[in-house]
Symmetry: C2
Subunit: 212 residues, 2 copies
């Protein structure tokens, strides 16, 4: 697995999309897929697809395309998606509520097993069968339930503190929805989803494509 | 503006983050920022920062860093963020509800001015001061209110159809939250946010950093 360290992050991001596309094709009973078709489905060029997949070994045969089932079976364990992941969610606001009930997480092996909020007024409320717990029980709950991932859905001001607490509790990866950058020690992975930045980037793409 | 066509998408994505960081520094009364500091704040190397900013002209002076206010003022119009954008949201489910009430959108100039859902039972409900409208009024509403961007927050099965309807109504950019790829004609911009893919990519990063 050590060669995985060398794979650039954008490649990994696309690999996950290739896997999802293979699973869709399998469900539709399709046996083979060309690099052009795979690329179109995820918005990449066929050359990019071939280059990406070559990081992980030889999957396809020139001119014959990729056997969908083999590709799916090879990608799944590589991407660590052949297992279940337990997730703690911090922040019982509107975004947190939406994530708690987000069906696709569970379908893809991510189970939100604990929900935390620092507001004592929310304590004890139940959302999507999860009771809102106080932050003081984070460390114990993470250890007891074997939670490996944490989601931050709190306001900007609280995000770094929550990240620190998740890391101290032993979480190995953090998905941050607060629109700010959070820092974690090496050995812990972090990804940020800034919903407003997504709209800003879209606005810029719109401006660019309508530019003279 | 025509040179903007040549700027790679990851650069644009980071430019938005640079702008946000400059605005934060300005609020804190900080005058200059080094490429190292800017990089650290957004998770990029100082070399990457210098290279990115060079796409947009000469902002800084070697050894002196970037004047925060000048950089902010130069980036804002370039990124088309010196104006308001009107947004239509389709899908009055859990994700849609969270987006409707998402304060940061409004703070950054994105105003969700209309909310649509195909479920007649939701019609007429009011969320965050927005009445849920039927899809049949999409085209007229987009024209009347001058809506340029659309957000898709509907199940996978409905996503492409909603994208088609948004495009037909005259929307120029689509932000898709359904966990599937949607196709739009050239001249229309699209970005997808697949929340489960974000967790999948995080899981892979965790596996990679703990790999021997």
């Amino acid at each position: 697995m050590s060669t995985l360290h060398a794979i650039p992050r954008p490649v990994i991001e696309r690999m996950v999309l290739y896997l999802r596309q293979c699973q869709r094709l399998e469900r539709e009973g399709i046996d083979t897929v060309s690099s052009t078709e795979l690329g179109e489905a995820i918005g990449a060029s066929s050359a990019q697809v071939r280059k990406d997949l070559s990081f992980f070994g030889q999957f396809g045969q020139r001119g014959l395309g990729y056997p969908v089932q083999n590709l799916e079976r090879a990608l799944r364990p590589l991407l660590a998606l052949d297992r279940e992941w337990k997730v703690a969610l911090v922040g019982a606001g509107n975004i947190g509520r939406a994530l708690c009930t987000y069906r696709t997480f569970r379908e893809r092996g991510f189970q939100i097993v604990a929900l935390f909020d620092s507001d004592p007024r929310k304590e004890g409320c139940t959302w999507a069968r999860l009771k809102v717990l106080p932050m003081s029980s984070l460390r114990r709950t993470v250890a007891e339930l074997g939670i490996e991932l944490g989601i931050i859905a709190v306001p900007v001001e609280a995000a770094q503190n929550v990240a620190d607490q998740l890391v101290a509790a032993g979480v190995k990866g953090v998905l941050n929805f607060a629109p700010t950058h959070v820092t974690v020690p090496s050995g812990v992975a972090v990804r940020s989803v800034d919903l407003a930045v997504e709209l800003e980037q879209l606005a810029f793409l719109v401006t660019r494509s309508s530019a003279p």
